[in-house]
């Protein structure tokens, strides 16, 4: 797998989604969504429950089919690719909820993440256990019996071990205690610092806005605002708490 350092395209876009339309699942469809994430860029996708944030993530990673538009990743049109192929191209999707195999042990979960890896698997595992010592202690435990925070760490470790080009973090902080939210953001920040591009989905916005360079707001399946993350707060409260500002 190419590490991000070897990508020499500079500021050109790593992931570009153009006019994406998805028709799938109740209240989760997308209309004409366009986003652009440069190499080592970070984008926060914000919006209320049901706005289509997770659908966007799933469409990009190939889990749900799109019915219009185009997705280009690392110079290749991946619109029709299978999730497997997209993953192998260096895009990791950490799904909403707990992105772990509950019936496999911690170690096996990590090994599953390494099946595409060509280099030394031992080294990767070492890295994971150094980052999250608690996983090392519980390597033989079934992932389904871990606490919510530990499962989320496992999900993060699965991405951190390898060197993807882009990660999608879907509601990683949902339902976690504040201290664990810190761990989540710290971990994703570590990936960003290593040159990985990040597409972050959050319902609770201020942390995400502090993290990302760019942001979009999705409402009822459409992008209603896009711009620099530090300018998003105003728009966001408008979107969440109603149009009083516009009155």
């Amino acid at each position: 797998m190419t590490t991000s350092e070897s990508v020499s395209v500079g500021s050109t876009s790593l992931l570009r989604v153009e006019g994406l339309a998805v028709r799938y699942g109740a209240a989760q469809s997308l209309f004409d969504v366009t986003i652009d994430i440069p190499v080592n860029g970070t984008l926060a996708v914000l919006g209320s429950n049901g706005a289509g944030k997770s659908t966007l993530a799933r469409a990009v990673s190939g889990l749900v089919p799109s019915c219009g538009g185009r997705i280009v990743f690392d110079g290749k049109d991946i619109t029709k690719w299978s999730p497997t192929r997209i993953r192998r191209a260096g895009l990791i999707h950490m799904p909403e909820g707990r992105g772990v195999f509950p019936g496999l042990t911690v170690l096996e979960n990590l090994r599953m993440a390494l099946t595409t890896e060509k280099g030394s698997k031992e080294e990767c595992l070492e890295r994971a256990f150094t980052l999250f010592p608690v996983l090392g202690q519980r390597r033989r435990q079934l992932a389904g019996t871990l606490s919510g925070g530990e499962q989320q760490m496992l999900s993060l470790a699965r991405a951190l071990m390898v060197s993807p080009k882009l990660v999608i973090a879907d509601e990683m902080s949902l339902g976690l205690a504040p201290k664990l939210v810190d761990v989540v953001f710290e971990s994703i920040g570590r990936m960003r610092d290593a040159g990985v591009a990040v597409l972050m989905i959050e319902q609770f916005a201020s942390r995400a806005l502090g993290f990302a360079d760019q942001a979009i707001i999705l409402q009822r399946g459409s992008v209603t605002w896009a711009g620099r993350a530090d300018e998003a707060g105003e728009e966001l409260l408008h979107a969440y708490l109603g149009g009083a500002t516009a009155a």
Binding site: S48, A205, E234
Partner: protein, 289 residues
């Protein structure tokens, strides 16, 4: 909007007790607490909003109120009477109707048949058995039934699709149909789970009008979960906010809008950015204006 949305006999005597009340409702799924000690009351002719972030336990509370789920602890009352242990059917007979976040439609039935069935469940329940022997499946439907169903079809603008099966409907139509079906049951308390999601701005306004008119003209009480906070704050007499299964705020829309706990719940934590603070200030001003 139609003024005959609701049959007159459904307007019931006011006993003084809230139409629907939850006291100390707690629901646990294994180790997970979905609702913790939630109190909530819907008075006669009141519109009450229930808001909260994703996963806050709103739908669970609805399931408890409508009888689809037994609470681990706590009680549910209708008109002051304990209905915690009664079935959804019994609660429907007492005048409770609801819609669902993911529309629970009957795929093979046409839009109109949904309303016919709901109407008959209220007005001619025995037909489930008598139709079999009287061969009324081949007979014309009664005039009163037709008239009532026509009204609902018209007021929720289902005319163009009334003979289509529910399975092919877009989400917006499905929402309207769910609301129409609930109204066909001539309820006294109506629970609405995200009535506006899938609707555009204009449809949302129209649905809001229909709902206000049932409340105003027919004494129906409404409890609604809605993520369009603007809609809820604009319509409701009272609003309750759930977060992590706990009621963190409750009161008039104005009070709730100002509540810092609500902001924190929605944005993840206390807001520090100047831009956001500015936005807060503007919201408050807008509200005063």
């Amino acid at each position: 909007m139609s003024t005959a949305l609701h049959a007159p006999e459904a307007a019931a005597p006011d006993t003084g007790a809230p139409r629907l009340e939850a006291r100390g409702v707690t629901v646990r799924f294994g180790g997970l607490v979905a609702n913790k000690d939630v109190d909530l009351a819907v008075g006669s002719q009141q519109i009450v909003g229930l808001v909260g972030p994703n996963g806050a336990g709103k739908s669970t509370l609805f399931a408890v109120l409508s009888g689809l789920l037994r609470p681990t602890a706590g009680k549910v009352f209708m008109d002051g009477e304990d209905v915690t242990g009664t079935s959804p059917q019994k609660r429907a007979a007492r005048g409770l109707a609801r819609t669902f976040q993911h529309p629970e439609l009957f795929s093979s039935l046409t839009v109109r048949e949904h309303l016919v069935l709901a109407y008959r469940m209220k007005n001619a329940k025995s037909r489930i058995w008598t139709d079999l022997l009287s061969f009324r499946g081949f007979a014309k439907s009664p005039k009163a039934e037709d008239a009532r169903v026509d009204e609902l079809v018209e007021s929720l603008q289902l005319g163009g699709i009334q003979h289509l099966p529910a399975a092919g409907l877009p989400l917006g139509s499905a929402r309207l149909l769910e609301i129409a079906r609930a109204l066909a049951r001539e309820p006294r308390v109506l629970l609405l789970d995200e009535p506006s999601s899938g609707l555009d701005v204009r449809e949302t306004e129209e649905v809001a009008e229909v709902l206000k008119s049932v409340v105003r003209d027919h004494g129906v009480s409404l409890l609604m979960v809605e993520h369009d906070v603007e809609l809820v704050l604009g319509m409701s007499d009272a609003v309750h906010v759930l977060d992590f299964g706990v009621k963190i705020a409750g009161g008039t829309p104005a009070e709730v809008r100002r509540d810092p706990a609500v902001r924190a719940a929605y944005l993840g934590e206390e807001i520090e950015k100047p831009a956001v603070q500015r936005a807060e200030a503007e919201i408050e001003q807008g509200e005063l204006a």
